[in-house]
Amino acid sequence: MNLNFGKVLFAKTVFGALGRAIKGGYKIDSQIVRLVQELPNDYTVIMSVKGTNAKLSFTAFEDNLIVHKLKKAPKSGDLEIVFKSIDCVLPLLCGFKGIGQAYSEHDFIMRGDICKGMVVVDLISLIEAYLFPTFMLKRIMLSVPKTEKSKARMYGYFISGK
């Protein structure tokens, strides 16, 4: 199997999981709700990887959050975070690098309001805090955000959707 194909498939899988986690986080953690509410109504955020079709996208509304399935993902958004290559995004998706470090190391470019980008960074950091073990988080983040619910609760959402 082509290695690049494998990497892209992995990225798409993890983006899918991140999307599910964002949906779950919105249901269980009021911090995530507040972050989503900081975004303007009908505001679409897209995280993608240049040269591939791996993508995570969601649209924030005043009282709702829609995470788009890959096949129905919008082509453009209000805020677009584009990783320069598949090799740039993999460390983030594997939990070897936080999004703050990815920013420091120029792994991605961004179109849109940088202030709104900071909201998305905080959102992704909170989701990472739910998904990755604490010992990994301490290595990749200057400060690990506190989640309102336990990791088990998030994984429970993954399994049951509730």
């Binding site: 703050g100 420091s104 961004m110 179109r111 309001d113």
Partner: protein
């Protein structure tokens, strides 16, 4: 040195020295193919004759100044950028020359971006390194302060007055082709402005040297900038007509700008931007007041780096009087003391409450600061409470 990936970019031709206005500016404009120049500047520089001096020199050497815009306010805004772009188009200009401080240069960068990208709304090209190569427009900057370093940075900050916020644009597309540093243009800078713009430069260098995106090349430029600042800020304030001090401060400003443009800044800028957006404070005074308090916050992580900065700023005898465990602390005290001493000399504020900022505004400033991109690259993570503590210490 780790094997981390770094980036350092500075495609600006920097022409610097005494007489560079006369000997180089018109030549550089001609080399860029500038036939109908739009000259952008501010009302004060127009009143004191700087605009006329530049225009006359250009026209004397055969460079046509097609149009002049001299109403750039202290804070550039989307509306001003749009107005100037109209002036450019209506007058059939083909190049831009901006002469002024940070707000003039930032405004000119916004104009260049708007025109080269062919958009009517600058907010459509907001972001970080996402803008594609646009139409070629010869673009020259001549700073009259030292300074924001805007003449060599990939960043411009423009106010959105409707939303009471500052918009950041990060792209190499706003770098000028040439910047001309002639110290004669800074001799009219009053002592207070010399101090505040100097501390703005120092903040750029220190934050560039201590942020999470620091790299060997940005460190080198930051270190030299810090050394030049320490050696020349006093002279530039005490002897405003001393061209040597003035030139070295301009070089300091350019080096500090190159440093932070290729690393990043940190919490001083994040909080300073918020103070500017909410309380309409000048960028330079915000930096000057906030710097030591943010350094105190960052101390436990950055103390070794502060020790290096202390070494660059003081002479041997002062350095030897401090024990090596205390270099970092001594650095913060030195900078705080230096600013207070010079601020008293020139009549500058040392606390935010002297500038009309209210306690209630600090809460809004803290919220906005948390959303500034520069917060991400501060060496130590800050919570909102940390930002409030810094603001309260800086307030009274």
């Amino acid at each position: 040195m780790s094997n981390k990936y770094y980036e350092f970019e500075n495609g600006v031709r920097i022409v610097y020295g005494k007489e560079s206005l006369k000997e180089e500016l018109p030549y550089q404009l001609k080399q860029l193919g500038a036939n109908r120049v739009l000259l952008i500047s501010g009302p004060v520089l127009n009143r004191i004759g700087t605009v006329d001096m530049v225009r006359e020199e250009c026209e004397r050497q055969g460079v046509k100044i097609q149009a002049v815009f001299i109403d750039v306010p202290n804070d550039s805004s989307l509306e001003v950028v749009a107005n100037i772009a109209q002036v450019y188009l209506v007058n059939g200009c083909d190049s831009i020359l901006a002469v002024g401080g940070g707000s003039v240069m930032d405004t000119a960068k916004g104009v260049k971006l708007l025109l080269s990208q062919g958009v009517s709304d600058l907010s459509k090209v907001m972001g970080m390194n996402m803008v594609k190569k646009g139409e070629k427009i010869p673009f020259v900057l001549m700073p009259t302060t030292s300074g924001t370093g805007s003449e060599v940075t990939k960043v411009t900050v423009i106010s959105d007055l409707a939303r009471n916020t500052k918009l950041e644009f990060v792209t190499a597309e706003i770098l000028p082709d040439v910047c001309v540093l002639d110290p004669i243009l800074t001799t009219t800078l009053p002592p207070r402005a010399t101090l505040l713009s100097g501390f703005d430069t120092l903040t750029h260098a220190i934050e560039g040297y201590t942020c999470t995106q620091k790299n060997p090349l940005s460190d080198a430029t930051a270190r030299l900038a810090i050394k030049l600042f320490a050696q020349n800020i006093g002279g530039a304030i005490d002897n405003p007509l001393d061209l040597d001090s003035r030139l070295r401060m301009m070089i300091c400003s350019a080096l500090a700008g190159a440093s932070f443009s290729n690393s990043m800044v940190g919490a001083v800028h994040a909080i300073g931007h918020a103070l500017g957006g909410e309380c309409h404070l000048g960028h330079d005074i915000s930096m000057s007041i906030l710097l030591p308090y943010v350094m105190e916050f960052n101390y436990d992580i950055a103390k070794d780096l502060y020790g290096n900065i202390f070494r660059l700023m003081v002479d041997d005898s002062t350095y030897k009087k401090v024990s090596d465990k205390n270099y970092g602390r001594a650095c913060i005290e030195y900078i705080k003391g230096l600013y207070c001493k010079l601020a008293q000399q020139v009549g500058a504020a040392t606390k935010l409450n002297e500038l009309g900022v209210s306690r209630e505004q600090l809460e809004i400033v803290a919220d906005k600061a948390m959303r500034d991109g520069a917060m991400l690259t501060n060496m130590k993570a800050l919570s909102r409470d940390d930002v409030m503590n810094i603001l309260i210490k800086a307030f009274e």
